[in-house]
């Protein structure tokens, strides 16, 4: 198991290096360069001298491979340079926002999975019946309804029911956990709907598959109650493919937050990213893209390791 884990972690390194390289290239291939865009864009007038000076300051006059290694070295020590807009260190801009985004994402994931597993199971057990149809319509709408629109509808609903509107500032979790969760549960639900739908669909199809296995027939033949058969034998085995989807979709969830944070006035990474794109703050864009990819690769690693725990055959291969 330890060898398996170490192997998986070692495999992460080339992927992350590739991600860093690709991010770096994507930003550098743009026509013109960052400095010209910053100093000359929007009618700003700057002399060639100023531009050269800024280029030297940012290290952009050095050859590309050298720039890449300098950036990579910085990234390894969490030094991503300074935001071209605010002038504050990128790591600081991200640091003050990452907690909020991760909290909403984790809350969304937890709620979504808690809803998705029973829904998917019910749908599978009552396959092609009315319950199945209703659940399938709900899960299919989960894939179709844009999270930002769902967020707006949620706010409208809350406004009419409880006169609640998105707060201007959010209470930190450690200051008042109950208040904090009551504020953040709504964006978490809005962004988690899609997640729940995807997981429920996966659970449904994998339960359907598992229910045809020999060991289910054996369990039934032993005279176990249908509840025990499903709860003890089917769900446990059906969880393996579901875990993959849960992991893969977590990154998608972070993507969903990019849009949903706008609706709920959340000052998180998603909003920072959109602002960075609007202002063409390439230092910030680079760092956030790398962070998102890092989260994706890490969740994949966690899923792989979890697989090893849930299914001992995997680790031994």
């Amino acid at each position: 198991m330890l060898r398996y884990a170490l192997g998986r972690i070692a495999l992460m390194v080339p992927t992350l290096l590739g991600v860093a390289l690709l991010t770096f290239i994507m930003i550098r291939v743009l026509p013109g360069d960052v400095v010209e865009l910053k100093l000359r864009g929007d009618g700003g007038r700057a002399t060639q001298e100023q531009i050269d000076l800024e280029r030297t300051r940012l290290g952009l006059d050095k050859p590309l491979p050298q720039q890449f290694f300098v950036w990579l070295k910085g990234a390894a020590t969490l030094d991503f340079g300074e935001s071209m807009w605010t002038g504050r260190p990128v790591s600081q801009e991200i640091g003050i926002r990452i907690g909020l985004t991760l909290q909403v994402a984790v809350m969304a994931a937890v709620v979504a999975v808690m809803i998705a597993i029973p829904l998917g199971t019910l749908s599978a057990l009552f396959r092609d019946g009315p319950v199945d149809w209703i659940i399938r319509v709900i899960t299919m709408s989960g894939l179709a309804v844009p999270s930002f629109w769902l967020g707006m509808l949620t706010i409208l609903g809350l406004l009419t029911l409880f006169r609640w509107s998105p707060p201007v500032t959010y209470v930190p979790f450690f200051q008042d956990p109950v208040h904090n969760i009551s504020q953040l549960i709504w964006p978490a639900l809005a962004v988690g709907f899609r997640y729940a739908a995807v997981v429920a669909r996966m659970v449904r199809s994998s339960i359907i598959e598992v229910m045809q296995e020999d060991y289910i027939r054996t369990a039934r033949a032993k005279g176990l109650s249908e509840f025990t058969v499903v709860a003890r034998h089917a769900i446990k085995n059906a969880m393996l493919p579901a875990v993959t989807v849960i992991g893969l979709e977590f990154a998608f969830l972070m993507g969903g937050l990019v849009v949903t944070e706008q609706v709920f006035n959340l000052n998180g990474i998603g909003r920072l990213f959109v602002d960075a794109v609007l202002r063409k703050d390439f230092m910030l864009i680079q760092a956030i893209v790398l962070l998102m990819a890092f989260i994706f690769v890490t969740t994949n690693l966690v899923v792989d390791l979890l697989y090893g725990v849930l299914d001992p055959r995997v680790g031994r291969r």
Binding site: V19, A144, W149, G255, Q262, M292
Partner: protein, 294 residues
Amino acid sequence: MAAGHVSGVGRRSGAVADFLRSQPLGAFGLAFILVMAFAAIFADHIVRYDPEAIDFASMLAPPSLEHPFGTDVFGRDIFTRIVYGARTALTIGFLSAFLGTTIGGLIGIVSAYFGGRVDLVVQRFVDIVLSFPIIVLALVVVAVVGKTPVWGIDLNLVLAIAIPIIPRSCRVMRAAAMSVRSMPYIDAARAGGYSSLWIVLRHFVPNVLAPYLILFTAYVAQAILLEASLSFLGLGVTEPKPAWGLMLAGDNSNFYQEAPWMILFPGLAISLSVFAFNLFGDSLRDWLDPKFRT
């Protein structure tokens, strides 16, 4: 031709009737798509107003006989903008899904056909690109390429939506092509001295057409959703052009609590069209490939 698992595609006559009969839900999705396409093509004849005409006299009017879906902050008729929005959504959706699925599919087939080192390099690269969440990748492309409007369509927006689709389509199409690769007729064609290009075009392409169509339909749905999200963020289609995502953003989003119809109908338009494409895509999959039926 070894049709094998691509039942349906080869049978020309009665295929449509068979699909409609065996997949009522898919037929429903298809009907909705056709209605949307009709609205998009004949928009000029369906609506009474100009989608971009500002009329401050009837600002924020609630739904009425004159304005069935009400008006927005500029007094523009929302029904009109939704009908024209179908044109924007379908054009960008189809173009980018086609571009993404086709490029990804071709890379996938080539990767599977050559196998070995080519396959390894391509798949590692795909792995890396897959690490970026779809919308994040699209936003980076938007940030880097700017705008190139051609006939009112921003080609770079199409590109931004197509690029995240490429690695995903590549994965699935590679898997489909792998199963073709091991077929005896491929060995026969190779032994017959046919060129790689001929083999790919003559044997691979027709046999991966079924997964291609399924993917394409699913990605149209994704592309419509992505275009709506980008427009909502102010980084996709921009004012005054009518686009569903845009109708939920900007000045409209400041007043939606007083005038909920402003966001109700555009949001429904996005959801229903994505729903219809997903429904159609799912049914198409069940119909073309009963093996995958869940």
